[in-house]
Amino acid sequence: MPLTDVSGKATALYQARRSRQPIEPFTDADPDLGMADGYAIAQHLTSLLIADGDEVIGYKVGLTSKPMQQLIGVDQPDHGPVLKSTMYADGDAVSLASFIQPKIEAEIAFVLGTGLRGPGVTVIQARQAISGMTAAMEIVDSRIADWRIKLADTVADLASNGAVAVSSRLLPLDGLDPRLIGMALTRNGELVDTGAGAAALGDPVAVVAWLANTLGDMGGSLEPGHLIMTGALHAAVPMRSGDVFRAEFDRLGPVTVRVVD
């Protein structure tokens, strides 16, 4: 029975991030590696990145759709940190050289006005804690070769986080139902896909409650000002140099990412 070797695996992922050389999935050699192992590795990896001067400014939640959960063989989402060094603004150029095998997803992002500490956080409490909603795109990436991920691999790899781009237009939720916010994603002016907020766990607000409760079980919490990426509204799209991706959300407006070498 191999030891989990949390720090060794975290270091391997850390080096893969720095060198942009992917590694083989941990679950190849260690098929018993589970979700708890994944989060232990992720925590260690995050501390290595923070030691380099990075900062956790929020969380991304992944595996929020039934098709993705079925693909990975789970019945719940996973989460990873959003790192300050990976924040882009609307219209920014994003370089492929920063990633290994990036894909892009349009999502609704929330900013918290007050903190949330689980367990026991309800969707109503989550909604009350949210100060605003914004149009966002997430770039997912995997440090695991060819995206051959099982649950423990992607959890350890910070839920396959890459980068986020958010619009500066932050709207209060008053009277809006995030489940019904429609989104159209175009690449170079051509429609790629559409979706609505309900694609994320049925309700993006429920994603926040799930996140607060899951972090709470691990002794963590959500803080005021945290950015929460609530999960893709469509299937992730591979990125090529020269692509201009534009995700336009009803009421929230557009967010654009320009892909460069």
Binding site: K66, D177, R179, G182, M183, T194, A199, G202, D250
Partner: protein, 256 residues
């Protein structure tokens, strides 16, 4: 060699298959040269036998589906008034062959509209209102395996349709209108209006231009289903289908 087709005879075969609730093989597999024009000839025959018409519907309006089946344009069919479901009434599966549900945005046309150069803006100007809709597809062909000419002949798989209350389209960006398809309380798909040819009104504009080629057009009071926004889902007895569209409201359909 292309054989001349007998639209009346083919329409009768489709009508009988439907009445018997027995799926058949695609017509194109047995009739060389059975093309889109032939498909529309069969559809016209069915339309002449369908009784009062409520309006029109579109099919293959998503780019992904067009690429998948190798076409660059949507297709159109007619809506028989007799196939409308009413709010609160269940879908009777015993009347259908292999029903599938999909969410759509419906247009109620307020003024006659015809011509070969009609645009989305013309459509919106002629629109009385829009509504959330559930279309029940029911292909006459086994397992929905067909060429485009077949599906056109089969009136674009039209089965039943349920349309919600009509609301004014003014101030609504239908391109971005969020739509959620639910099945038995779970999310089965989401989309925005753009899934229909980039904008539901663009899909209706295509319909008008397509009708113009046959010397036809839309009339005030016509209903138009602008195209499925998500992948269609199979429905069986006991299923409950819901469709919610932002600002347009919600529909719930029980399958018996």
């Amino acid at each position: 060699m292309t054989q001349p087709i007998d639209a009346a005879q083919l329409a009768a075969r489709l009508t009988k298959a439907r009445a018997d609730r027995t799926a058949i093989g695609p017509l194109s597999a047995e009739l060389p040269g059975f093309d889109l024009a032939a498909g529309y000839a069969v559809q016209r025959q069915l339309r002449s036998e369908a009784g009062p018409l409520a309006g029109w519907k579109l099919g293959v309006t998503s780019r992904a589906k067009q690429v998948q089946v190798g076409v660059t344009e949507p297709v159109r069919g007619f809506l028989a008034a007799a196939n409308a479901l009413d709010i609160g009434a269940p879908l009777q599966l015993a009347e259908l062959i292999q029903p599938r549900a999909e969410p759509e945005i419906a247009f109620v046309i307020g003024a006659d509209l015809a011509g070969p150069a009609v645009s989305s803006a013309d459509v919106l100007a002629a629109t009385y209102g829009v509504a959330v809709a559930i279309e029940i597809l029911d292909s006459v062909y086994t397992d929905y395996r067909f060429a485009m000419a077949d599906v056109v002949a089969d009136n674009t798989s039209a089965g039943r349709y349920l349309v919600g209350p009509c609301v004014s389209a003014s101030g609504i960006d239908l391109r971005l209108t969020g739509v959620v398809l639910g099945l038995n309380g779970e999310v089965a798909g989401t989309a925005a209006g753009a899934a229909a040819l980039g904008h539901p009104a663009a899909a209706v504009a295509w319909l008008v231009r397509s009708l113009a080629a046959d010397g036809e057009g839309l009339h005030a009071g016509n209903l138009v289903l602008s195209g499925g926004l998500t992948a269609a889902i199979d429905v069986k007895a006991g299923d409950v289908v819901t469709v919610t569209a932002d600002r347009l409201g919600s529909l719930e359909l029980a399958c018996r």
